[in-house]
């Protein structure tokens, strides 16, 4: 388990998702701010790439069909470490 690499890749996902969360909440109360919508869409695009890179290395980030594919011979969802153990 390459924990250092996992933490670093996870950190990039966390940072970009935070951008998306902040813009999401801002847009909930400023839905006509087209510049913010554009920023949100950029964050979605970048987040998608970062999540895909992370999932290829460490397995699905989400369950119930929302995460990436599991490897054919291995159910990766059950693999630790879990978030509170990192």
């Amino acid at each position: 388990m390459n924990c250092e690499k996992q933490v670093a890749m996870l950190r990039r996902v966390q940072e970009m998702e935070f951008v998306a969360i902040e813009l999401n909440l801002y847009l909930d109360t400023h839905p006509c701010d087209t510049e913010a919508i554009n920023d949100y869409n950029c964050a979605v695009e970048r987040l998608r790439v970062l999540v895909q890179e992370y999932e290829e290395e460490f397995g699905p980030l989400m369950h119930f069909g929302h995460g990436g594919f599991s490897q054919k011979n291995e159910w990766q969802w059950i693999q630790g470490p879990w978030p509170w153990e990192i």
Binding site: V7, Q14, I21, T29, P83
Partner: protein, 201 residues
């Protein structure tokens, strides 16, 4: 429907275990102004809100609070990592060890279990949004008390980050309050329940 993301919203780290501090932090897990209270309060208030943007905001902040609840759980987990019966006794938290061992439980800093009495839903958007704004301020103050009570820089980083989120949520709820007041001003009558108004149209 909710989907779990197998990660913390923000990294949770501590320099070293500290059972005494965990005993204080637990109030943000199961205390009156903790993250469980926050999440359930907002998600439950959605059904009586009159405008779509407020329904969206309560959904989104209520969901983010679930992530904060997980961060607090992670913080308590790390602060009590490897703690023995003796460590709990020394920290004055032997009641926690007796009843829960190294498991977590929804209590405040005095061991009082979580109760639905901590949250309100009056079904009136002005009443409920001002309750939410007060809740964010109470959580902000609690985080300030916790930050003042530790010298663990890593734990402080996590708590400061959560503190900032309270400030942002307060701001967004304030904007939502403006939105609902504007909505009421443009309605023909005093607000008397959005469903009833729709039926009358």
């Amino acid at each position: 429907m909710w989907i779990y993301e197998k990660k913390m919203e923000h990294p949770v780290r501590v320099c070293r275990p500290d059972v005494k501090f965990a005993k204080m932090v637990i109030t943000q897990y199961g205390g009156p102004d903790g993250e469980l209270s926050a999440s359930l309060r907002y998600l439950n208030q959605r059904y009586s809100m009159p405008t779509d943007r407020i329904k969206a905001l309560l959904t989104d902040i209520g969901t983010e609070e679930l992530a904060h609840m997980e961060m607090i759980a992670g913080l308590v987990f790390k602060l009590t990592d490897g703690a023995t019966c003796e460590d709990f006794k020394e920290a004055g938290w032997e009641g926690q060890y007796t009843q829960h061992d190294n498991g977590l439980f929804w209590t405040d800093a005095n061991g009082v279990p979580w109760t639905a009495k901590y949250i309100a839903c009056l079904g009136d958007p002005i009443t409920d949004l001002t309750e939410d704004m007060a809740a964010e301020q109470k959580a902000r103050s609690t985080y300030e008390h916790l930050i003042a009570c530790t010298d663990d820089e890593l734990a402080k980083d996590t708590l400061r980050w959560l503190w900032q989120r309270e400030v942002v949520h307060f701001q967004r709820f304030g904007e939502a309050l403006n939105d609902v007041q504007e909505w009421m001003a443009t309605s023909k009558h005093m607000w008397c329940g959005c469903d009833r108004e729709k039926k009358e149209e």
